[in-house]
């Protein structure tokens, strides 16, 4: 049996099967990204915090746009070469296409690492500092941990096991025998604790053979004290608190969300010189605004754009007297690729002053969440498309010799997909980088 119209087009529809298939598939892809873009609009309109603008590196984004457009051209050339039965040119153009895909992904990787190593920290009064954390992501570090109490019905105490900084977590039972926390042993423990009537049922306390050190992000903790901490799943560990603060090199202040944008915790931590410069910077922009729109009676505090320039300052803070007026506005773009982080002022923040902190991962804000979801899914499409096209290049010779038209069809279909991936980026770039 043979399926008709795998290579030649059906006369009345004018299409071969795979072409119908790919257009349908692309229709569903449009709905997929359409759903994501609608989500973006929904989140942005409904955001109860200033939506980040201009926080991505436009130059890298622009280069990636060019790279993808170029690859869309070369993939057509590859297909045309096949149609003209020029195998070598086909391989050449296809290689350029794949090279573009690789370039795109490498640049993407740089952008991602930049974001993921960069932190934002919200003080409890709403002011924000951004920068690099030297002490690692672990806020709370507990030393000399010797015992762990956890609920065995919920499985192994993963928050402890996955956060060990030093030492090896080997558990002992009552009789001092080493135990292996597999499923069946956990069940035995649970039953034992139930028999002994320990409340809550299933909860056991195990000792460690040797003391270990654990660290944790604040977000995984319910509470902690000098003698121990409780993870959010109820697991209790005892030990000595070694660290309850974080050191951070600050490369930006953002006080828009603070009750008083010119006097708040972020500025207090950063000290007088920077506070001084920050206030002058803010005042400079507000004055400028008032001057410019003097006759219109706008309230500067209602203007999101002004607030963004006035109450957001890139560090090291520029000395206003030495900087020309025109360059002050440009506080957008990231400088993470610039050399040396020593130039940024360093602060040590106590945990109790912090409301929330995270690297610029999806957890930081809905902006980063949708940024990573959109670009991540797009990146996945780039990888899949490149794999398919690469397969047609590396393993296509046999089919080329047997039925070149069939291979050309396949490349056409793959190329259509590739154009779609390109098109998605053409939407992504302005939406995420420029708007």
């Amino acid at each position: 049996m043979e399926i008709p119209y795998t290579v030649t087009a059906r006369p009345d529809t004018g299409l071969y099967n795979a072409k119908v298939g790919i257009w349908l598939f692309l229709a569903s892809e449009v709905m997929l990204f359409g759903g994501l873009f609608s989500g973006y609009i929904f989140l942005r309109i409904g955001a109860d915090y200033p939506w980040p603008e201009g926080v991505l590196n436009n130059l890298l984004g622009f280069i990636n746009t060019l790279v993808l457009i170029a690859s869309s051209v070369t993939v057509v050339m590859a297909w045309a070469s096949l149609k003209m039965r020029q195998w070598n040119r086909y391989v050449l153009y296809m290689s350029i296409t794949l090279l573009c895909a690789a370039t795109f992904m490498v640049i993407k990787a740089f952008e991602y690492t930049d974001k993921l190593t960069h932190y934002g920290l919200h003080f409890s009064d709403g002011s924000i500092v951004e920068g690099y954390i030297d002490t690692g992501a672990d806020f709370v570090v507990l030393k000399d941990v010797t015992s762990v109490r956890f609920d065995t019905t919920k499985g192994a105490p993963n928050y402890v096991l996955r956060n060990v900084l030093e030492g090896e977590p080997v558990f002992l039972n009552k009789d001092g025998v080493e135990i292996n926390l597999n499923r069946s042993y956990l069940r035995t423990l649970a039953r034992g604790s139930e028999r002994l009537g320990i409340a809550p049922a299933g909860s056991v306390e195990l000792t460690l053979r040797e003391p270990i050190t654990i660290g944790s992000r604040a977000s995984r903790l319910m509470n902690h004290s000098d003698e121990g901490m409780t993870f959010r799943d109820g697991t209790v560990v005892n030990g000595t608190l070694e660290r309850d603060h974080v050191t951070m090199r600050v490369d930006r202040i953002d006080t828009r969300m603070a009750e008083d944008p010119t006097d708040n915790m972020a500025l207090q931590y950063l000290g007088d010189t920077i506070t001084e410069r920050f206030r002058r910077h803010a005042q400079f922009h507000i004055d400028d605004f008032n001057e410019r729109y003097a006759d219109r009676g706008f309230d500067p505090m209602e203007n999101a754009e002004l607030l963004r320039t006035a109450y957001r300052l890139k560090l090291p803070a520029p000395d206003l007297d030495t900087v020309k007026r025109g360059r002050l506005g440009g506080s957008s773009g990231d400088d993470a690729l610039a050399d040396g982080k020593d130039k940024y002022p360093q602060i040590q923040v106590e945990r109790e002053d912090v409301r929330f902190y995270s690297n610029f991962s999806p957890a930081y804000s809905t902006y980063y969440a949708i940024y990573f979801t959109l670009t991540g899914l797009h990146g996945l499409h780039v990888i899949c498309g490149a794999l398919v096209l690469g397969y047609f290049m590396v393993f296509g010779k046999k089919m080329y010799q047997r039925n070149p038209e069939h291979l050309a069809n396949r490349v056409e279909v793959g190329g259509l997909f590739w154009h779609f991936v390109d098109l998605v980026w053409i939407f992504l770039f302005p939406v995420l980088y420029l708007m």
């Binding site: 049996m1 043979e2 399926i3 008709p4 119209y5 795998t6 030649t8 059906r10 006369p11 009345d12 529809t13 299409l15 071969y16 099967n17 795979a18 119908v20 298939g21 349908l24 598939f25 229709a27 569903s28 709905m31 997929l32 359409g34 759903g35 994501l36 609608s38 989500g39 929904f42 989140l43 409904g46 955001a47 109860d48 915090y49 956890f150 919920k154 499985g155 192994a156 105490p157 993963n158 928050y159 604040a218 977000s219 995984r220 319910m222 959010r232 799943d233 109820g234 929330f356 995270s358 991962s361 999806p362 957890a363 804000s365 809905t366 980063y368 969440a369 990573f372 979801t373 899914l377």
Partner: protein
């Protein structure tokens, strides 16, 4: 079984009846390629059918346990049910043998999920669509046979993950089949040792697989219909079944991706700590969640129902498709209003994309939005009514053969009618304020799904079984299947409307006992004769007592499935043999193939000369009262010249 003896065999019947497996490659394939990793659309269709029927049984069992909790919240589960629950899930879900609220929630969520995504859609669209559609349009197989196989296996992987989630330390998902955030995100979230190993997370992962499977499947179905129709099979000669499948496939293709988006976003919320669906300041278990917030729970509902409403038509249309084939065949009359049915189903498909927010009237999305969706929702009932009316008029003046298939098809009409009509009041936000999230809604869609859709699917199984096995299903068992089903389904679902209007919430795990002070309205006073039947002690009959009645309906309904299960297996060997390839004297192309159809389906290239429902038309005789789509017209010269604008298939 009147009228099943073949009067005049169509084309190949006499030469090939009972002569199986003509295709030569088929003999060389190892068994696992032939039955397990098959690329043959018929095998895949049967695989889907078997898998989905197993899922339906599982979903049914969950419901029986829930119904116990509703009817007798303070009594321990019966021995057999308790044993099954403990055997599979361990003893922590029962409290002194009683169903705990978490078990109820878990079974409730999984009942809905399994029935909709793993049961009815795979059976209706994937199984019937796969088996019947390519045969009906005269194609040798689906356009992409390998992709077809992948669809099935993705579906099975998704289903397996869904089932496996029962055995996790947290148990399976518990946030309802709609899985609304923030509940679905924060459930099994803070208090677990590992967020990945939770039922809520696995639900999402399983859904991603199931969705991907549907997407591949729908691409395949549409491509096949567009490009692989046989010579002469013009659009307006295509059986209504295939039109329906085309529309369903488009619904799946375009409506499922937004749900995939929702699943990905919720996964990200759970695993990466983002806040797509979590608002600022969310508190869970007395502590502020350490999240950024800023997200929007309504976004989830929009994404879910953008799929959710088209999905209900994905559930419904296969039943319509099947019944549109069955009614003409057993009444020996052409389908009435074929063209208007086709246009109606196209309009229905389009409209179903713009009604979704009628599930969200109470979310505070605003009256303007609500008004828009009220209007579209009322509009969509027009094409639904056209479809139903055409089917009813098709009965008019027919000489009906009441086979089991026809009985089920016949009962579908009023049962779906009740389901659809009770949907109309829900369309008005004013009335929906009262009825939303009550048993009225449950009654509404169960009337559509159970005595409606399931009856349609049963009918289809009775109808096409002879094509698969070469034997009829037992008519006697078929009747034992039909009547109890019809009765117990109504016992189970009809009282839901009263309870709903009395304000019974759909998710009470004790059936309302906790609220009996307010919810327990009296139906019949103690001295009424109806109370006398149910209550020995002369007490009044109340709303809560309906719970017991309905639950008994549910359990007896389970027993009513036994004849069917026996019938399916028993008839493979012992059913009455068909003496032709076209035992029902039907017109469509699937009946012109050998039985069962070999790999590649047709022995010679099928050519289509006429519309799909030429029963009792001019040119037929009492002895042979139909003209098959593939029968050349009596005028021999025309027969050899199919219309010139029809392309010749390349690869036959």
């Amino acid at each position: 079984m009147a009228g099943t003896a073949t009067t005049a065999a169509p084309d190949h019947a006499d030469t090939h009846a009972g002569d199986h497996g003509h295709d030569h490659h088929e003999h060389h394939l190892p068994w696992w390629q032939k039955y397990l990793f098959s690329t043959d659309h018929k095998t895949i269709g049967i695989q889907y059918a078997l898998a989905s029927m197993v899922f339906l049984l599982v979903g049914f069992f969950l419901m029986m346990v829930m119904r116990w909790s509703i009817a007798y919240p303070d009594r321990a589960l019966p021995e057999a049910m308790a044993w099954l629950v403990e055997f599979f899930l361990g003893d922590r879900w029962l409290e002194e043998g009683r169903v705990t609220s978490s078990l109820y929630n878990m079974f409730g969520a999984m009942h809905g999920t399994i029935m909709v995504f793993l049961g009815v859609v795979p059976l209706g669209f994937a199984a019937f669509g796969n088996f019947v559609m390519p045969l009906q349009i005269g194609a040798p197989d689906m356009a992409f046979p390998k992709l077809n196989m992948w669809s099935f296996w993705l579906f099975l992987i998704g289903g397996t993950i869904m089932m496996a989630s029962f055995f996790l330390p947290t148990g399976a998902a518990q946030a309802g089949w709609t899985n609304y955030s923030p509940l679905a995100t924060t459930l099994q979230f803070v208090d677990v040792h590992d967020v990945f190993m939770t039922g809520q997370t696995w639900w999402l992962i399983a859904m991603v697989f199931v969705i991907s499977s549907s997407l591949l499947g729908s691409v395949n179905v549409i491509t096949t219909i567009i490009n692989l129709r046989a010579r002469g099979m013009t659009w307006m000669r295509m059986p209504f079944f295939c039109w329906g499948m085309l529309v369903i496939a488009f619904l799946l293709l375009l409506a499922f991706p937004p749900l995939e988006v929702a699943a990905i976003m919720q996964l990200s919320d759970r695993l990466f700590g983002s806040s797509f669906f979590l608002p600022t300041g969310l508190v869970e278990g007395n502590q502020h969640l350490n999240i950024s917030g800023g997200g929007n729970p309504l976004l989830y509902q929009h994404l879910f129902w953008f799929l959710g409403h088209p999905e209900v038509y994905v559930l419904l249309l296969p039943a319509f498709c099947i019944i549109a084939e069955i009614i003409p065949c057993y009444t020996r009359r052409p389908l009435w209003g074929y063209k208007s049915m086709v246009y109606a189903v196209l309009v229905l498909g389009f409209l179903s994309f713009i009604v979704w927010a009628h599930h969200m009237y109470l979310t505070g999305m605003g009256t303007r939005v609500a008004t828009f969706f009220q209007i579209t929702t009322v509009l969509i009932s027009i094409p639904s009514v056209i479809l139903l009316t055409c089917l009813m008029i098709s009965l008019w003046g027919g000489s009906i053969r009441f086979t089991s298939a026809m009985l089920f098809a016949f009962a579908f009409l009023p049962m779906f009618g009740i389901g659809g009509l009770t949907g109309l009041p829900l369309a008005f936000s004013l009335i929906d304020l009262q009825l939303h999230d009550t048993y009225y809604v449950i009654g509404h869609f169960h009337y559509v799904v159970a005595p409606g859709i399931l009856f349609g699917l049963f009918a289809g199984i009775y109808h096409w079984y002879p094509k698969i096995t070469g034997r009829f299903m037992s008519e006697r068992l078929g009747r034992w299947h039909f009547w109890p089903n019809l009765i117990f389904m109504n016992v189970l679902f009809l009282p839901m409307f009263w309870q709903g209007m009395a304000g019974f919430h759909r998710r009470w795990y004790d059936g309302g006992a906790y609220f009996s002070q307010t919810a327990n309205k009296e139906l019949f006073s103690g001295d009424h004769w109806i109370s006398g039947i149910f209550k020995a002690d002369g007490a009044a009959l109340t709303m809560l007592d309906l719970n017991v009645l309905m639950s008994w309906g549910a359990w007896l309904l389970a027993i009513a499935q036994i004849p069917f299960i026996i019938n399916i297996f028993w008839s493979i060997r012992h059913g009455k043999k068909c003496h032709s390839d076209n035992p029902w004297d039907a017109t469509t192309l699937e009946w012109t193939t050998p039985t069962p159809p070999p790999h590649g389906n047709f022995l010679k290239e099928p050519v289509v000369y006429r519309s799909a429902y030429d029963y009792s038309v001019p040119g037929t005789t009492p002895a042979k009262d139909f003209l098959g789509q593939g029968e050349p017209p009596a005028d021999a010269t025309a027969a050899t010249q199919p219309s010139p604008d029809q392309p010749a298939p390349a690869g036959h």
